[in-house]
């Protein structure tokens, strides 16, 4: 069978073989010794695109896509303007590659420059790269960047950072000579006494997150001063939609900000692809990982964009590179830019307000259920922690059967937290859905 993805006719193949001077395609594989050749290759036979799509539809039908989602934990169910799909779906964007040849890649390059600008304005910091893989790996890269910038080898990690990010950080650094000290959460917040005890002149950075895994938002400004006084850096992980309302990392005094961009125009898609972002004070630009787009001029003095500071990167510096990252998540970053541009200055503020209002409504409604208490140690944005009179796993399981994902049980992440769950409310959840969640939760607690 000849596939239409391999267009040569038998006649053309003949002509090409003649031009090469071999009798068969098989002869071209002659450099591979016979004893190395594959003995088995068991894939099933191929099929048409129509049958392929039908098969994929069948697989998709084996998932339940109609759930009412009150779960976040790093990935959020947000609205996506139609323009995002259509524009990022332009083949000139998605079938191009890394813009190595700037003259014929100005589309991607300018878009990434605009993306970097959007991330800088969101975080208040001066420089951004052109994206990383995801939020969790961005935390690890932010930590590595701080280690390079300070030439120290100790990291303090707030135990309230998303557990997945902390696990990725540990895995990334597992073979390096770096000491990671986790500060156990104190009432859902950064453990400030533990910080005071552990902070010394070997600490490269303190890593924090806001809102944190419990949904709490605390003011890290004094912490930034404390860390700086010890000669370390403050690395903050942030949820970009929350930055429509919350103090920016720069306002807090952070040196490096990282996060996951899924909430900016990327579908949940079972966890990926999204993109990671990283922004920093300009002094640290040479320690940045990954691609960076810079502005310049052409021979006629006209503005244009190029990949810059490439001497930091693996294709030039090899084992001395700031990171091994090559492919990043450009197209997802482009979606993020289109999303932020569609919403604009007021739109992002409005979106954040919607999330905040709905979550506060849900928080108050859930707190009114007898036996349910809400973690009150700090204000929250669109996620908050509730304590249930019984196992959160049990309750979540019961509500799942009714098509509601009530929240993220914390028992798997924190000892003694079996009755805690984090509830997330985005702008997509209607008051009706929230009321239904409350009613069903009441029912589940009675049973």
């Amino acid at each position: 069978m000849t596939s239409h993805y391999c267009p040569h006719t038998p006649q053309e193949i003949r002509e090409m073989l003649d031009a090469i001077g071999v009798a068969s395609i098989e002869e071209l594989f002659a450099p591979i010794p016979a004893e190395l050749r594959a003995k088995t290759f068991n894939l099933p036979a191929g099929m048409s695109e129509f049958e392929t799509l039908a098969r994929m539809q069948q697989l998709a039908a084996d998932n339940c896509s109609q759930l009412s989602l009150f779960i976040g934990g790093g990935f959020y169910d947000h609205l996506i303007p139609a323009a995002v799909d259509h524009l990022a779906g332009r083949a000139e964007f998605y079938t191009a590659y890394t813009p190595y040849q700037p003259e014929c890649s100005q589309g991607t390059l300018q878009a990434l420059f605009e993306y970097q600008t959007a991330i800088c304005r969101l975080t208040g910091l001066e420089v951004s790269n052109a994206s990383l893989y995801d939020g969790a790996t961005a935390v690890a890269e932010g930590a590595l960047m701080a280690l390079r910038a300070t030439n120290r080898n100790r990291l303090l990690v707030d135990g309230c950072i998303n557990p997945a990010s902390r696990q990725v950080l540990k895995t990334y650094l597992s073979n390096l000579d770096v000491e990671i000290v986790e500060l156990p959460p104190l009432d859902g917040l950064l453990n400030r006494p533990a910080l005071a005890q552990e902070l010394d002149d070997r600490v490269a950075a303190l890593l924090v997150q806001y809102p944190n895994i419990f949904g709490c938002v605390e003011d890290f400004s004094p912490v930034a001063e404390q860390v700086h006084a010890a000669g370390g850096l403050l690395v903050t992980a942030v949820y970009p939609v929350a930055l429509g309302m919350l103090k920016s990392p720069a306002e807090i005094g952070a040196d490096i900000a990282v996060g996951d961009g899924q909430s900016l125009g990327n579908p949940l898609s079972f966890g990926g692809p999204s993109f990671g972002f990283i922004a920093a004070k300009k002094a640290y630009i040479r320690n940045m990982p990954g691609r960076i787009v810079g502005e310049t001029v052409d021979k006629n003095g006209q503005r244009g964009f190029v990949l810059t500071l490439q001497a930091r990167e693996q294709h030039i510096k090899r084992h001395k590179a700031t990171s091994n990252i090559c492919s990043n998540q450009s197209l997802c970053a482009l979606r993020g830019l289109i999303f932020l541009s569609a919403l604009g200055r007021e739109g992002l503020t409005e979106l954040a307000q919607l999330n905040y209002d709905k979550a506060q409504y849900a928080k108050a409604s859930l707190a009114a259920i007898p036996g349910v208490t809400v973690l009150q140690s700090a204000p929250s944005f669109n996620e908050f922690t509730v304590s249930l009179p019984k196992s959160a796993d049990q309750v979540v399981g019961a509500l799942l059967a009714k098509g509601i994902v009530a929240g993220l049980p914390l028992g798997q992440y924190f000892e003694g937290s079996e009755n805690l769950m984090v509830v997330t409310v985005t702008e997509k959840r209607s008051r009706k859905e929230i009321d239904l969640l409350v009613r069903e939760l009441e029912v589940a607690l009675c049973n």
Partner: protein, 481 residues
């Protein structure tokens, strides 16, 4: 073109959000709120659409131009793959970890499970994790697995051996995992120098990283011997799958002595490159490394016949990414694999190799071919003959842009001076290849007849050659305003 920020008009909006159906909540304390909204662009939906549409037109892409960028496998991206990925958009990844939640995502888990099995079959490995988010991420994951393997055995290992023709990501990935690098030069026959390799091997070598066929497009016939030598030092063999497109169905790396492999779904399995990503870099391993694979992973529960998610395993290296990997990319790769099937994938490799050799034969009279042998899926030339007239590889690249071709990779591999690395892929027709060959010959002729003509090129693009020195010195990486 103006930046989108320069088109901003205060008060304008590109999208309307739904009205709130809940009461306005009491504001957060001022100490937590930002002073000013972020200065994001403000423009109408139409102006937004025009801006990005016009930007897209300033790109060369596979759908608009032949794109023979060596080492990147810029094959055609079948449109049906995009349709397939959209089917899974509303699924939240954490659903699978909730009590009873895996029942609600059997389709997604089934796809992940099957994809891993198919990749294991193609590569000759025992198990595959699809968590790594790109090729380099796969390399790092592989190196972490190797480190965990040695640690568990009590081995004291310090070095990773790479040939000097390797991708820069190989030494960079090994260094991120704390290894020191030993680089082996390439011999005149185009493969890693065997004698120097043997001398370099010692009991402290953790792994040998090979790209096979290598970045010169050549298959190393001594690969089994290299693996045997490595294994005799209890060093593991790592296969950089960047060039897997050359050998599907012909060689399975797992059969010839490799222990760990990453594959690039965005290269070999037809998923689009997205202007630099997202990719996906699944990692396959032999049995001895299975206990160390990252979590979470998908397991088959024999009692229920269902798939579920395992989040913990005592010897696992932990987690290398947030969730299951770049799932949407995997959906596309999976659809590609089932669509092409066994025969289709074999044909992919055969015609990728046919096309590369065809270009090699047709151009070797015009461009220096430093390693004149049957190549696999890509052919590496040098512009050294043109350089005698003062014309560099980069000049030829700019000439090609004016002629409507995305240039091949230039200046890589580093071991070839003025390298021009052409990877046509299997999806291009003979007519496209012939037209490209003609243009390349024209470039070679122009280099002799009028070398000065190259300096101004390209002339047909929105910008002429850009001042990269200025960019690197000034570091203007965002628009201040």
């Amino acid at each position: 073109m103006q930046l989108i920020f320069e088109q901003s008009v205060p008060g304008r909006k590109g999208v309307m959000l739904p009205a709130s159906d809940v009461p306005r909540a009491a504001a957060l304390p001022e100490g937590l709120r930002r002073a000013e909204p972020a200065a994001l662009p403000e423009l109408s939906e139409l102006d937004l659409v025009r801006h990005f549409t016009n930007l897209s037109r300033r790109n060369f892409s596979v759908d608009t131009h032949f794109y023979p960028l060596g080492s990147c496998t810029m094959k055609y991206n079948a449109k049906v793959l995009e349709n397939a990925a959209n089917l899974f958009a509303p699924l939240h990844p954490l659903t699978a970890l909730l009590p009873g939640g895996s029942d609600l995502c059997q389709g997604a888990l089934g796809m992940l499970y099957d994809l891993a099995q198919m990749l294991a079959d193609i590569t000759g490995m025992d198990e595959v994790t699809a968590q790594p988010l790109a090729g380099a991420h796969g390399e790092m994951t592989g190196m972490l697995l190797i480190a965990a393997y040695h640690k568990a055995k009590g081995n004291q290992k310090k070095y990773v051996v790479v040939p000097d023709s390797s991708h820069g990501t190989n030494p960079a990935s090994a260094a991120m995992v704390g290894y020191e690098i030993i680089t082996i030069p390439t011999a005149p026959y185009g493969d890693m120098d065997m004698e120097l390799f043997k001398q370099a091997m010692n009991s402290e070598v953790a792994a040998v990283m090979m790209t096979c066929p290598n970045t010169l497009g050549l298959f190393n016939p001594h690969i089994k011997e290299i693996a045997d030598i490595a294994h005799s030092h209890d060093a593991l063999m790592y296969y950089d799958g960047a060039n897997l497109n050359a050998i599907m169905g012909k060689v399975r790396p797992g059969d010839v002595g490799f222990d760990v492999i990453h594959v690039n779904l965005h290269k070999t399995f037809g998923t689009p490159h997205g202007g630099g990503g997202p990719g996906s870099g699944p990692v396959g391993v032999k049995k001895a490394l299975v206990p160390f694979l990252p979590m979470p992973c998908i397991v088959h529960d024999d009692d229920s016949g269902q798939l579920r998610v395992q989040t913990d395993s005592p010897q696992s290296i932990g987690r290398t990414a947030n969730f299951f990997g770049n799932f949407g990319v995997m959906v596309k790769a999976y659809a590609y694999m089932i669509m092409l099937g066994r025969e289709g994938l074999i044909q992919v490799s055969e015609q990728a190799v046919l096309n590369a050799n065809y270009i090699k034969e047709k151009l070797k009279g015009y461009f220096e071919l430093p390693y004149d042998q049957t190549c696999m899926h890509e052919a590496v030339f040098s512009a050294s003959r043109q350089l005698e007239h003062g014309v560099h590889a980069i000049d030829i690249a700019k000439f090609l842009i004016d002629k409507g071709y995305h240039p091949p990779t230039v200046y890589f591999p580093l071991i070839v001076k003025e390298a021009i690395m052409i990877e046509p892929t299997e999806t291009e027709s003979k007519q496209t290849l012939d037209a490209f060959i003609e243009i390349m010959i024209e470039a070679a002729q122009l280099a002799e007849s009028d070398p000065a003509a190259f300096a101004a090129m390209p002339v047909s693009m929105p910008v002429t050659r850009l001042d990269e020195t200025k960019a690197a010195r000034e570091q203007n990486v965002c628009c201040v305003g």
